[in-house]
Symmetry: C2
Subunit: 273 residues, 2 copies
């Protein structure tokens, strides 16, 4: 699915934070971070003193085609140089630091960065080396610390995972995808009349089959059945399918169901022995 | 940091969804999914017909110590068997399906699952094989589709990433970590009196240094300086540090600053030539 719509991607990338990897060790991890960045529309990668130099061939396969990010990556000698043009910087760290600095969740960080981006301000996210994490001197350069809430019994996540989660939150904070929707495809919602005809058909067949034999419960059972099918938001096509089902069961299905029931009872008796 | 607090982890895992990997191909991906699950307190892994069988030694290093999840993993022949005891199932898929089925974001899905868990109902998340994703017959077993909003130009994420994001959202929906807080460590917030003494000290030295030479702007500049330091929510210890800074600058710093300024101007002139 990659590379189908670069124009839209460029619009999405606008205003996104720079991802600053300080002292990253493995090219593969840089590549994974690159893939995650571009999955969520980020393109500004800055590498501070990457251990194995740059470009690093090991990053390419892991980036899985996010070449635009690899090609634009810039290398800096120090964190201070890498963030020189940024107005707001957030330091990701799992360890508690002995600093009086505000700690935010990834979601809150994304909200803050969207707010800055709306004013035309450029932000950045700092990530430390795989083993040690950011040095305190780098954390001190940041406006706030970002900390991912994790299972306290297993709280180590890797570099690429941290980049994924922060990039994901950035993108979600600007996504206009509704939190829930139901596609209707090429169908038409069933009208009340369609449903009434289904109910009439079903109840007629059920009456004939002796299903409503307790007259006093008939009204309740009818209401229950209607509620079940009303909850499904049926289309006209699905009503037609269900009428076919009722017809098939009423004419040819009876013996089949009975046979299945008899078989199950036989099996249950056998299991009990 | 792994393994420090299993009791808390067990509490966290309670009510969490089962992660059901259908036809997963690579053991390494299963291991990465396992690590992500346990990072976010999930322990119920179910494998439907894993390509390379189970247990799979390739999963172990990638799981990075989340042995509790590996050991409890269960294998099923079909998706229907794997979800038999679950009341609500969500199918993760990136591709659009030709089905009338509600599509939710990972966040909405997490909210729904927390709601079910609160009623004691067990949920599950279905993930398809690496290349092809879930089959339509598996999707049809689900209550809803979960779709991660992604950069439309680069919308392919891998199996482990999908598991990370869904597990992350599950955990966040139940996390009581405040979205923003500032640790105060062992410090005491500065009192108004502490601040007043700092302001008095600074303004006395600034007056002496001729900083307030435009009498009509003096009031504004004083207010601006006070606002700068009020915004920092200073501790008593930090006020003490700042008073030391003022003292050092006032007594010994002047010439140093002047020398630095002269050096900068010299350099700028040289660069311009």
């Amino acid at each position: 699915m990659a590379g189908t719509n670069h124009t839209e991607a460029e619009i999405i990338a606008e205003g996104g934070p720079a991802i600053i990897l300080v002292g990253a060790q493995l090219g593969e991890n840089i590549g994974k971070a690159v893939r995650a960045m571009y999955n969520f529309g980020l393109t500004d990668l800055r590498l501070v003193a990457p251990r194995d130099g740059w470009p690093n061939p090991a990053a390419v396969p892991a980036a899985a085609g996010a070449d635009i990010v690899l090609e634009q990556a810039r290398v800096f000698a120090t964190t201070a140089e890498a963030i020189a043009d940024l107005s707001h910087v957030y330091a990701t760290t799992a360890r508690r630091r002995d600093m009086i600095k505000t700690v935010v969740t990834p979601r809150k960080c994304a909200d803050l960065m969207r707010g800055h981006a709306d004013k035309g301000l450029k932000c950045g996210l700092l990530f430390g080396p795989e083993k040690a994490g950011l040095k305190n001197d780098d954390v001190a350069l940041a406006d706030a610390i970002v900390s991912v809430p994790l299972n306290p019994a297993f709280a180590s996540i890797n570099l690429a995972q941290a980049v994924i989660l922060l990039s994901y939150e950035w993108f979600q904070a600007g996504s206009d995808q509704p939190e829930s929707y139901t596609p209707t495809l090429e169908t038409t919602p069933a009208s009340s009349d369609d449903l009434q005809m289904l109910f009439d058909h079903m109840e007629r067949e059920l009456t004939e089959a002796g299903y409503f034999r307790h007259a006093q419960r008939r009204a309740t059972m009818r209401r229950n059945l209607r509620n079940i099918f009303k909850r499904s938001d049926l289309t006209r096509e699905e009503v037609s399918t269900l009428r076919g089902v009722v017809k098939a069961l009423a004419t040819g299905g009876g013996p089949g169901w009975l046979a299945e029931k008899a078989e199950k009872e036989k099996q249950a008796k056998k299991d009990a022995d």
